[in-house]
Amino acid sequence: MAEASQRVNPIRRGGVAASPAAAGLGGPGLYLALPTYVIVLVLAVAPLALLVFWSFWRYDPATYWIKPDLSFDAYQTIVSSGRLAVIIKTARIAVTTTALALVLAYPIAYFMHRLAGARLRMLLSLLFLVPFFTSYIVRTFAWRLILGRLGLVNTALQALGVIQRPVEWLLFDEFAVQVGLLASYLPFMIFPILLSMTRIEGSVLEASEDLGASAWQTLRHVVIPLTTPGIFAGSLFVFVMALGSSVEVQFLGGAAESMIAIMITDVMRVLNFPLAFAISTLVLALLILLLVIGNRYLGLSELFRSVSR
């Protein structure tokens, strides 16, 4: 009898912490993760450790190569030649893109999960994915044609009589870069949030309504907190991809605008590997620091363990 009720009404189970079974299964957990650990360690961590090591060497213009000469030159240069400013600027743009993407994507994900039928949901999902099967380089290039002086937007606005002369600031400034980044990465925010919404059972929302909460209050106090894993996932995706982007800035930015990826390529163009490695070590260190802080104070890495019983 007890077993049957367990099977039939899993939701009613008490809020006991992580099941004892899970706590004791550190062993099999390790086996499952082993291939991943190995791959990441061998292919990512180990070579990068080497690069970090090389970032402390010095570039020698005479031999066009690096010398094993322990020095902080590369790191000093980052601060003295305005390279740190690029890192900060890239981070700022990435944060803005992430925030905008979150605000734009959340209502869509909510709509797709709660208010759209299964067919509409699938249709919208597929439609949001299709542009990714075309080359993003060509897609970003197309924004130049749309936002330019003789472009689609200006032509339309002039035809409608809204403006007399073409608007200049649509293209080749940060506005255009944000537009390009958003158009490129919005689906990466939509889908994680959508996936995390599957965790919300209808009964919880009904209960909230029964208790007299307005739709807005339900949203604020029930839905959003429950979809925190999705919000975190989507934000992480968009942030990382915007941080590492270069095409949008190159195609849509102003004169010689820079991002981290462009800076590293610039530096590698002159084969100043210590500097390139120093820049990427710094970026990596900052991101890992953010992750560690997030882990400690927001419990980010624990976010995904299932809490509902």
Partner: protein, 395 residues
């Protein structure tokens, strides 16, 4: 006496004989290879050889490579290397480019660096009879030689100045148009210090605004002055944007985003083909010359393809390649062979067009200014160039 046969523990007799046999076979094959050297039977020479050509996109002639296979028995496998010296050199040293590619093509200037890093073999001019037909000043380009040996063969040559829309800015004959405050937000330059620094330097030098020795190789102080000027212009909003790559450059002109910009001549041709009136300035300050040079990778030697590579180089200077290049892109091989070949094969190539193109390019090099300033991807202070460019980016 120590004899391998007396020590069964080392290597058995049978194994040893096998080794001898294999060794003999490879010697024999090597002998055949030796027989294939020039001087021996032409038939034996012309078995199809594969040659991998890793070069900038301007150096491929697409469908016209077939002629090379017909004439010399060399099948070219072309891959675009992006014409960016940094990644190319990185892939040669760090990556596996030496295992993959035999011959390279890169904008001139990196020969010294690659030679010092042991990535190149020098070309043997005795195996490239057509080399003598190169125009003298092409053979005299300073950066193609290092320590007296020839490392780069300039196969594609041109001289750049300013693209402009005559209906918007009238007739242009000076670089000043790009820096003209009346054209704020309507000009552009290339997002590459290699080009833009030298253009600015030429402008400043010839208009007596700065004391500059060689615009293609600026000293520390000259570079500072040039870049400060450019940074100020950027801050003043002079430039609509900087362009990166062919499609961006063409699009700026055809969409009239800019009315004047420094850039490559074929962009003018492309704009005209698309119905936009664009012209190329004949600047009183003089042009900026560049070459795309053929490089012989060390890997080719290891794979026994050095001879094929030399024949390939020779063929490129023979005339057909130059004609194809002219037809496809409006670029030139700096030799009179193109015109001679076109004359001899009128059904293949229109001779007059080739002659006009050759005259046009030659005239640039002997233009009003007389001298040409060679663009060098590796000026002496190239690290400093990059640092200044970063400052420009931040401005």
């Amino acid at each position: 006496m120590d004899n391998l046969y007396d020590h069964p523990s080392n290597i058995s007799r049978r194994q040893f004989l096998k080794l001898l046999g294999v060794g003999g076979l490879s010697l024999g094959l090597g002998g055949i290879e030796l027989l294939r050297r020039p001087g021996f039977s032409a038939a034996q020479q012309k078995q199809t050889v594969q040659l991998t050509f890793w070069a900038s996109g301007t150096m491929t002639i697409e469908q016209y490579w077939q002629k090379l296979e017909q004439q010399e028995g060399i099948k070219v496998n072309f891959t675009d290397n992006g014409n960016d010296p940094g990644p190319v050199i990185s892939k040669l040293i760090f990556g596996n480019a030496q295992q993959l590619y035999d011959v390279g093509g890169l904008q001139g200037g990196a020969e010294k660096e690659l030679a010092v890093r042991g990535q190149l073999e020098p070309w043997d001019e005795s195996k490239i009879p057509n080399y003598k037909t190169l125009w003298p000043w092409a053979r005299d380009i300073p950066y193609i030689r290092y320590q007296g040996k020839l490392y780069g063969i300039p196969t594609v040559i041109n001289a750049d100045s300013v693209i402009y829309l005559p209906e918007k800015v009238g007739k242009v004959d000076t670089y000043a148009v790009v820096f003209d405050p009346k054209l704020k937000g309507k000009t552009a330059m290339e997002d590459a210090w290699i080009n833009s620094a030298i253009f600015t330097a030429i402008y400043l030098k010839e208009n007596n605004l700065q004391k500059i020795g060689n615009p293609g190789n600026l000293t520390k102080d000259e570079l500072g002055a040039v870049m400060e000027f450019l940074i100020k212009k950027k801050k003043d909003g002079q430039f609509r944007t900087f362009w990166n790559g062919w499609e961006q450059g063409v699009q700026l002109v055809t969409s009239q985003e800019v009315w004047a910009m420094t850039g490559w001549e074929p962009i003018v041709y492309a704009a005209r083909r698309a119905g936009v009136k664009a012209d190329y300035a004949v600047p009183k300050e003089g042009y900026e010359g560049w070459s795309n040079d053929l490089l012989l990778f060390k890997g080719a030697g290891q794979r026994g393809r050095k001879d094929a590579a030399h024949r390939f180089a020779n063929w490129e200077l023979g005339g057909y390649y130059g004609n194809a290049l002219g037809k496809l892109r409006g670029y030139m091989v700096p030799t009179d062979n193109n015109v001679t070949y076109a004359k001899a094969h009128p059904q293949e190539w229109p001779m007059q067009e080739q002659k006009d193109l050759a005259d046009h390019v030659k005239s640039k090099f002997f233009s009003m200014k007389g001298a040409i300033y060679w663009q060098n991807v590796r000026p002496d202070n190239f690290q400093l160039y990059e640092e200044w460019w970063q400052k420009l980016r931040n401005a």
